[in-house]
């Protein structure tokens, strides 16, 4: 061993310590950066012939548990999807309300029933009849408002799907570009870890929309697949296609072709059932919301509106009305058309014949819609029949509930119950998914930068630097001695 090789070893030690300090500094500065994988310097002993000549820096590695990351991505995708569903169901439940709240659908039905009973006790009092008209109008308005809310949800889902499809396309293009740059960096021996961090964050953003599986390819490249097995990126990214619909009406549907489906490179991709080819994530949840949950909620509400119209339109309730003429509740002024039920809840109206502001007369509530002139004030038969028709148990002709005979109030309550049970189930699922993804995230973060550990490393680096400097100085002294002889 010669002095010069000692000098060279000490010099390599010094530069390795500097690199380590640099990596430590980078780690510490990124201690709070989400998605930053801790770097570690790879060292190995350098040898020349039979003797060792110092230390060599072989590279910088990113410390990331890819399996854990994979699990976390799947878990957070499923959490995002379930949260989308359960948030919607919770909003629906709030819109329907519970019977103890004054503005809820059930409470409005009960109020309508009460006012009819009170009016039947004193049919001559205009004030009583006016209360009936008010309660009936508030009931139809409530149905209309809920229907509007449901359709707004549907519109919002469609818009969000379009946004997500655009995000997906951008992110996939970004990942493909980063793949290319990482390959170029690696081939020239430059540090590509920062690019890898970026790429990981970009894949994370894809995973928020659809569950994605990352597969490592040669030269630090990655390929992406959905959990359902659809290829997203294999060299080249796929292109998602979706056309948002400007104004969605209740009768539009994917099956009828009036709403856009999802395409991958121009080929249609089935979005139903939820969690199929797309996998369980936000995108499939949005499709499920738009194509299944919203139409179902609307169908139930429409069935309730139809039940109400049919109840009050029975010939026994009002024999004065001409056959085929609209009853007390109408489909925008017309009689109910059983073939045109979709969206009925948004169109149901009180018959203008009994609304004084619209040219009607209150006494028609008492004497029948077809009555030509007002009859005696104490006539209560029609109002009694109306009250009876609301509380009577009858078979519902439509709706998504299991068939059965119910009163109007009972039907509304079962619809709200079904919604509530659904929401509770979805929330339990969301809570589970959230707990799972939180646990995995905590696990992943645990492997992140620990400043205490970095400080300990820094102490070692300091010592090593000092020691190497000492070696350097000693070797220098030795050379000085040789030169001074």
């Amino acid at each position: 061993m010669s002095i010069s090789s000692a000098l060279s070893s000490a010099f390599s030690g010094l530069s390795a310590a500097s690199r380590m300090a640099e990596v430590t500094a980078s780690n510490v500065s990124n201690a709070l950066t989400e998605g930053y994988a801790r770097r570690e310097l790879q060292l190995s002993a350098r040898s020349l012939g039979k003797t060792g000549v110092g230390v060599a820096v072989t590279g910088v590695t990113r410390q990331i548990d890819t399996l854990l990351l994979q699990d976390l991505r799947l878990a957070s995708a499923s959490q995002g999807g379930r949260a989308t569903t359960s948030d919607f169901l919770a909003r629906m439940e709030t819109a329907l309300g519970t019977a103890d709240q004054a503005g809820s659908l059930s409470a409005r039905i009960a109020t309508f029933e009460r006012t009819v009973i009170e009016a039947a006790a004193r049919p001559e009092a205009d004030a009583r009849l006016a209360t009936v008209v008010d309660a009936a109008r508030s009931l139809t308005q409530s149905m209309g408002e809920i229907s509007t809310l449901i359709q707004t949800e549907r519109q919002a889902a469609d818009t969000k799907i379009a946004g997500d499809a655009r995000l997906l396309n951008d992110a996939l293009t970004g990942v493909a570009e980063l793949n290319t740059r990482i390959r170029a960096f690696a081939s020239t021996g430059r540090d590509a870890t920062a690019l890898m961090d970026q790429r990981q964050q970009m894949v994370d953003s894809i995973a928020a929309i659809i569950p994605v599986r990352e597969i490592a390819r040669e030269h630090d490249q990655i390929a992406l697949y959905t959990a359902g097995g659809t290829s997203l990126l294999e060299g080249r990214p796929v292109q998602f296609g979706f056309t948002p619909t400007g104004l969605i009406t209740p009768d539009m549907s994917l099956a009828a072709g009036s709403l856009s489906g999802l395409t991958v490179n121009g080929q249609p991709l089935s979005t139903a059932p939820a969690g199929g080819r797309l996998g369980e994530g936000r995108l499939s949840a949005l499709f499920e919301l738009r194509d299944a949950l919203v139409p179902e909620a609307q169908a139930n509400l429409d069935a309730l509106a139809r039940d109400l119209i049919e109840r009050v339109s029975a010939p026994a309730v009002d024999p004065t009305r001409a056959p085929g003429a609209p009853g007390l509740f109408t489909d925008q002024g017309m009689a109910l058309d059983p073939l045109d039920e979709v969206g009925l809840a948004g169109r149901i109206q009180l018959n203008v014949l009994v609304v004084p502001e619209a040219g009607g007369a209150l006494w028609r509530l008492r004497d029948g819609l077809g009555a030509a002139v007002a009859g005696p004030g104490g006539f209560s038969e029609r109002l009694t029949a109306l009250a009876g028709s609301l509380s009577a148990v009858r078979l519902q002709a439509s709706g998504g509930l299991s068939p059965g005979a119910r009163s109007l109030s009972g039907f509304a309550s079962e619809i709200a119950s079904a919604q509530s049970v659904r929401r509770l189930g979805a929330e339990a699922g969301t809570a589970f998914a959230a707990a799972r993804s939180d646990a995995l995230r905590a696990e992943l973060l645990r492997a992140g930068v620990d400043t205490d550990e970095e400080m300990q490393n820094l102490l070692l680096i300091e010592q090593a630097y000092a020691a190497n400097a000492k070696v350097f100085q000693t070797a220098d002294d030795m050379i000085q001695i040789l030169l001074g002889m």
Partner: protein
């Protein structure tokens, strides 16, 4: 290096997650405590809202029936007191009429007739009583008076009696006129068909269909108008028949008396049923209110305990956060 290390973010993530969960709990408990009802009714009832809805609906509907029952009670009581007034007015006439018919005193008979005429006025006025804007004896025609005035009524009878020579014949004709559809019903009665039965609870419908054309009231009016004819100077009947007419009218009044008592009793049955329905409604309302409260009321004792637990947890998390933030190697490398 495969040493076990704990990333800085992991620690803060855990602490943040704990803190936000506990704060959410505090929010829920505060809301439930202050509002007195559970925050998530769907969850409290396991999604089955049918019980809550049916109880709430029953409350609302029972309130409606209760208001109907209250009005029915008022109407029944007013009708009852009107019937009592009519019975009182006619009953005190029977004795003078009988006395007059036996004593054969022309003046006395005439005086009784005058009395009867004025009583007829008051009975007809009673029949036209209206309570709360509702004419009691008009049936469904609640806005019109039940009968015409005494003078037109007497005039109609006078025309009817033209040609009658005996008191017996006069009485028969009066009675026939009151019973014929073209007689009293068409000329004097101004109301409509009787009211339909009134719903006073979900299961009870009571009869309140007393009208001025009820047989009992007609029987009373027969006697009263006959008695009023005694003193009627324009009456086509010979004055000598006054005594016999007084006797006949007294008999008719007594028959009417019996019928009135029956009518009153029948109305009394309705009153009893209304009262029973009212108290049942009140009990039901209370029961429904309690049932509803049971379903959605929050439990303050349990909430207080939960609050205590959450507070302890939160304080611990804060203490740990403070302690851990001081526990850093960087602080000691000085």
């Amino acid at each position: 290096m495969t040493l076990v290390s704990l990333g800085d973010l992991a620690q803060s993530f855990l602490l943040k997650a704990q803190t936000s969960r506990l704060k959410g709990e505090v929010g829920r408990i505060t809301q439930e405590l202050s509002s007195g009802r559970v925050a998530d009714i769907g969850a409290a009832l396991s999604g089955d809202l049918s019980q809550l809805t049916s109880v709430s609906r029953a409350r609302s509907v029972t309130t409606g029936f209760q208001s109907g029952a209250r009005e029915a009670a008022t109407q029944a009581a007013a009708t009852q007191s009107a019937l009592a007034a009519i019975a009182g007015a006619t009953q005190s006439l029977v004795t003078p009429l009988l006395t007059a018919s036996q004593l054969d005193l022309t003046d006395q008979i005439a005086l009784t007739g005058v009395d009867a005429r004025s009583r007829l006025d008051s009975v007809l006025a009673t029949l036209n009583t209206s309570v709360g804007g509702r004419s009691l004896f008009s049936g469904q025609a609640v806005h019109s008076p039940a009968v015409i005035g005494a003078e037109p009524l007497m005039a109609a009878l006078r025309t009817e009696l033209v040609g009658a020579t005996t008191a017996q014949e006069a009485m028969t004709r009066i009675s026939a006129w009151f019973d014929a559809p073209a007689g009293y019903r068409a000329v004097a009665y101004q109301g409509g068909v009787p009211l339909e039965n009134v719903a006073v609870s979900a299961t009870d419908r009571v009869w309140l269909g007393v009208t001025a054309e009820d047989p009992a009231l007609r029987a009373t009016l027969k006697g009263l108008t006959a008695a009023a004819l005694i003193s009627d100077i324009t009456s086509p009947l010979p004055v000598s028949e006054g005594k016999a007419l007084a006797r006949l009218s007294a008999e008719a009044l007594m028959a009417g008396q019996d019928a009135l008592t029956n009518l009153s009793a029948r109305l009394g049955i309705s009153e009893g049923r209304i009262e029973a329905a009212q108290s049942r409604n009140a009990t039901d309302l209370l029961a429904h209110e309690m049932a509803q409260a049971d379903m959605i009321r929050s439990d303050p004792e349990r909430l207080a305990m939960e609050m205590e637990a959450v507070q302890t947890n939160l304080e611990t998390v804060f203490a740990i956060t403070a302690r851990l933030s001081r526990l850093s190697l960087t602080d000691f490398l000085r």
